[in-house]
């Protein structure tokens, strides 16, 4: 009798004798999800088991995320939207810088679409005046676009001002996702695109070990996988969360140099000024914003619970 047959017979007699063999197998088994994708079409990233709650199994981290969430929402400005056509973004930002004397500590540019005008924005915008020092810049685009921007960001002037510090990745869950990159500008790639990239740049000096009032390192990871819950807008909340968890700054700006259309509206988010041609509300007023910031402060204050929980650099023993 082959093992196969013995299995089927045991299953058939299961109801009668209630005897099932639970003998454990030895050796560690791992699945080859790439192979499984070829045969079943089920995408490898679907099999990651902590997509919904990345810190599952780590109560300390879970607590840290909750505490940070509370603290961040407590010190968040009114959600602001600034509805501007792509062509008038640079003049608008320039007037903020020159007339209203505004600047931001966290500036995020771009969202998850290939049809973006990031290059002209980066070349025309006096970014070093818009972003304060120390400041943090996040640029989201397709891996290909990011690659093309390499030339710009590697040129000396840029590299001096903004240090490329991490490369973040956002992964849509499958081909039905609104964030699936699709075939757009994908004629010569060898593998189907399934990810978005982000450059995290730092300007000015921050030190991981000593600047805990400015940045909280190693809270988030450089990878985010899409969850069902965040499909209702143009920008999944993960993108904002990474920036919020990393920098304690309260002045945050998101520029979306792309049309996203009414089907995928750009929603507002507390603590952010969002500039887009498709943002749902147009309520930004520099004076009001500055007033709010002066009330909140430029940085979220330290909180003991968070300080004890967050990962820190090992303390160097005094020699």
């Amino acid at each position: 009798m082959t093992p196969m047959e013995s299995y089927t017979t045991s299953k058939e007699s299961e109801h009668k004798s209630k005897h099932v063999n639970f003998k454990p197998s030895t050796g560690f088994h791992t699945n080859d999800y790439s192979n499984n994708y070829i045969h079943t079409g089920s995408m490898p990233q679907k099999h990651v088991t902590n997509i919904e709650n990345p810190v599952e199994g780590y109560p300390k981290l879970q607590k840290l995320f909750e505490e940070k969430d509370k603290q961040i929402s407590h010190y968040a400005t009114t959600p602001f939207g600034c509805k501007v056509e792509i062509d008038s973004m640079v003049p608008k930002l320039n007037s903020w810088i020159q007339k209203d004397n505004l600047n931001f500590d966290v500036v995020m540019i771009g969202c998850l679409t290939d049809n973006q005008f990031i290059y002209p924005l980066l070349t025309q915008l006096p970014l070093d005046r818009l972003v304060s020092k120390p400041g943090f810049l996040f640029i989201w685009a397709s891996a290909k676009k990011i690659n093309e921007l390499t030339k710009l960001l590697n040129n000396e002037l840029w590299a001096k001002k903004f240090r490329r510090s991490e490369e973040l990745v956002f992964v849509p869950i499958d081909k039905n996702s609104p964030f699936y990159p699709g075939l757009d500008q994908d004629d010569d790639t060898l593998l189907a695109k399934m990810q978005w990239h982000c450059w995290m740049c730092i300007t000015g000096t921050v030190r991981r070990s000593t600047d805990g009032h400015l940045i909280h390192c190693n809270v988030d990871t450089d990878l985010n996988i899409e969850t069902e819950k965040t499909r209702n807008g143009a920008v999944p909340s993960h993108l904002y969360r990474v920036a919020e968890n990393f920098s304690t700054a309260t002045r945050r700006l998101h520029i979306i140099p792309a049309r996203t259309g009414w089907e995928t509206p750009v929603r507002l988010r507390p603590g952010w000024v969002i500039m887009s041609p498709d943002v749902m509300l147009n309520n930004f007023d520099p004076a009001k914003y500055k007033k709010e910031i002066s009330r909140l402060g430029c940085n979220i204050p330290l909180k003991n619970e968070i300080e004890t929980l967050r990962p820190k650099s090992p303390i160097q023993k005094a020699s």
């Binding site: 093992p3 299995y7 099932v20 063999n21 639970f22 003998k23 454990p24 197998s25 030895t26 560690f28 088994h29 791992t30 699945n31 080859d32 999800y33 790439s34 192979n35 994708y37 070829i38 045969h39 995408m43 490898p44 990233q45 099999h47 990651v48 088991t49 902590n50 990345p54 109560p59 981290l61 891996a143 390499t150 510090s165 991490e166 490369e167 992964v171 699709g182 075939l183 757009d184 010569d188 790639t189 060898l190 593998l191 189907a192 695109k193 399934m194 990810q195 995290m200 940045i215 390192c217 190693n218 809270v219 988030d220 990871t221 450089d222 990878l223 990393f246 009414w262 498709d278 990962p311």
Partner: protein
């Protein structure tokens, strides 16, 4: 008589009959409306709306009646023979005559067609205000109605435009058939690996923790009585147990559940004292045998299918069904000082250099500059290179690829998972953020038309293993990309990297094993030259001479290795012979390119290569072989 329409037909007659419009009258109708929309503005709103598809057809027919033969209709799918749905040809000459005749007449009447248009353009009325009632609630609702807002502002005749836009989108989103065919073929020909789904129910794992009997971190048995009790409370529990992988908490006296899971889980070195929670994988033996048998059955089918050659042969070598894969080959050498001309050209190269990233790794890292100076530009004429990079090296890697003549075409992310299939989120794995993934740059050189694109996606989800060991999934992906018989090279490989069909080089390999005759000859010559040069150039001090002797001995050893017996050589040479002849017959141009790469043993003239190959300047290579023998 519709002059606009005639003008439109004259202006666009070529585009209208060509792909993608292909003379479809419905499409022409919407294009016509759009063009009118652009020329005539708001006030003729009524005109545009009044015109229906039937009007349009009638007007087209009118034109055809006035100037017979100017428009040739064809009936493809229309229900009745009197209706038409496509235009196959538009004769411009009679239409032009008609148009100018009317134009002149109109000119005499001082009602110029053009002036009419321009006057209309000038007197554009302001946009009608969309909100007539200033009620705040209505205003709010209007604001929310984004679709309507869009309609008002930008595009009129939205439904028609939308049809065209969706059509355009569909065209852009349609994959080339080659992708689908490639995927279909891969599905039919790739052997299946055992796949067992994981249980996602947390309750099950806690039930199991109280029923298993664990000795020495191994599950020994289960209490059947308890299980059957749980089964009554949670039906389908036993079924789940029999079909899925479960992770059973490995509770120990010191385990403190409030601490949560250990960051290292199954790789924890302090299993017997660590207070965090660890898990054991539980798969019933019956399930494993069931899956293995199913897999084996399917794989047998696939193997049998392998003898049926698929009609879709793009990228495959022409003798794909009978050609055997070469057994693993490897060369222990210092990559920095290796003469790459010895090993010929490859379809695919993987390189996993130990980038110098200020970390204490259990092996020597080489300098970034040294990596950049590697002559990797010699390895491929047309082909793909996979380069593993970490953090800071991403930029450096892209730069290196460009220097070697490659274009970065893809970036694969390896999503690293742990024993439980979760991403790695703890342990300060990066400087600013934790690192849950690694990057693999994909560079392309020349025009490798034989690759099979878009079979796999640019993601790998796989568990981490020993330090810096990369996932094996990549090999499968590459074999699907370039075909199983392409020549494949891995640089900086270790013993666990050697595998059939691949040549692995690196300084941490054990010994050397070459099956391709020409590579072997050149390699032996290279070693011999190397030794001779050394002897001629320098009078070696006694100690080094001794080492040199050692080295010769080790070389002899390599040559005497069982893998190198003559039969083996013969076998592989013979199998590559018929290949070439098939190539010369020009069976498949696409595979031809691949073939040349595969049968690297023949196209290279050995003399030329060895003459041009520079003698190795350094003693490193020799001493490294010597050390292998000790």
């Amino acid at each position: 008589m519709n002059l606009d329409l005639i003008h439109f037909l004259i202006e666009n007659h070529v585009e209208l009959c060509k792909v993608p419009v292909s003379g479809n009258i419905r499409d022409i109708f919407s294009l016509y409306l759009m063009s009118r929309d652009r020329v005539v503005d708001m006030d003729s709103d009524a005109l545009v709306q009044v015109m229906t598809y039937n009007d349009f057809i009638n007007e087209l027919k009118d034109v055809e009646i006035i100037v017979p033969g100017s428009i040739i209709f064809k009936n493809e799918n229309a229900p009745s023979p009197h209706e038409f749905d496509t235009i196959t040809f538009i004769d411009v000459v009679p239409l032009k005559i008609l148009y100018y005749m009317h134009f002149e007449r109109k000119d005499k009447n001082s009602d110029s067609f053009d002036s009419r248009k321009s006057s209309e353009l000038k007197t554009q009325p302001p946009l009608p205000t969309p909100i007539s009632s200033p009620q705040p609630f209505d205003k709010f609702m209007d604001l929310l109605d984004m679709e309507k807002m869009d309609d008002m502002k930008t595009i009129r005749n939205n439904p028609l435009n939308k049809v065209l836009l969706t059509k355009l989108n569909n065209i852009l989103e349609t994959e080339p058939q080659s992708y689908q065919l490639g995927r279909e073929r891969a599905k039919e020909s790739t052997p299946i690996t055992n796949y067992i789904p994981s249980c996602m129910n947390h309750e099950h794992s806690s039930i199991l923790s109280s029923t298993v009997y664990i000795v020495n971190n191994k599950i020994i048995s289960m209490q059947w009585s308890k299980l059957s009790k749980y089964e009554i409370e949670n039906p389908e529990f036993v079924e789940c147990l029999q079909n899925n992988i479960h992770y059973v908490p490995n509770l120990k006296p010191q385990t403190d559940l409030s601490l949560g899971d250990c960051s290292y889980l199954d790789t924890c070195h302090k299993l017997n004292s660590c207070r965090y929670l660890h898990y054991l994988q539980y798969i019933p033996e019956s399930l494993l045998t069931k899956i293995s048998n199913e897999t084996k059955k399917k794989n047998d089918e696939i193997e049998q299918n392998g003898y049926k050659i698929p009609f879709y042969s793009h990228g495959n070598c022409s003798s794909v069904a009978v050609k055997e894969q070469l057994p693993p080959q490897w060369i222990k050498c210092d990559v920095r000082k290796f003469d790459f001309n010895i090993i010929g050209k490859f379809s695919v190269v993987i390189a996993d250099p130990a980038w110098n990233i200020h970390m204490n790794l259990p092996y020597g890292t080489c300098n970034d500059i040294e990596l950049l100076q590697l002559p990797l530009n010699h390895l491929q004429n047309d082909g793909v290179l996979f380069l593993w990079v970490t953090g800071r090296a991403i930029e450096l890697g892209k730069e290196s690829l460009m220097n070697w003549g490659y274009k970065v075409i893809n970036e694969i992310s390896w999503i690293k998972t742990n024993q439980l299939g979760r991403t790695i989120v703890t342990g300060r794995t990066g400087h600013w953020l934790n690192h849950s993934k690694e990057h693999l740059l994909v560079g392309i050189k020349g025009d490798p038309r034989w690759v099979n694109k878009h079979i796999d996606i640019d993601l790998v989800v796989s568990t981490t293993r020993e330090t810096s060991r990369k996932p094996d999934e990549l090999y499968g992906m590459i074999e699907r990309l370039v075909g199983p018989h392409a020549r494949k090279l891995e640089i900086f490989g270790r013993d666990h990297n050697i595998r059939p069909g691949w040549l692995t080089i690196g300084n941490q390999l054990t010994g050397t094993c070459i099956h391709e005759m020409d590579v072997k000859t050149k390699y032996d010559k290279f070693i011999a030259n190397n030794n001779k040069n050394k002897e001629n150039r320098y009078r070696l001090p006694n100690q080094q001479q001794k080492q040199n002797n050692n080295q010769n001995q080790s070389l002899n050893k390599i040559q005497r290795q069982p893998d190198f017996n003559r039969n083996n050589h013969k076998r592989f040479n013979m199998s590559s012979q018929p290949l070439l002849s098939q190539n010369n017959n020009g069976i498949n141009i696409m595979t031809n390119r691949n073939q040349i790469n595969i049968a690297g043993s023949i196209p290279y003239s050995i003399q030329e290569r060895t003459e041009t190959s520079t003698p190795i300047q350094n003693t490193y290579f020799a001493s490294s072989t010597a050390s292998s023998s000790s």
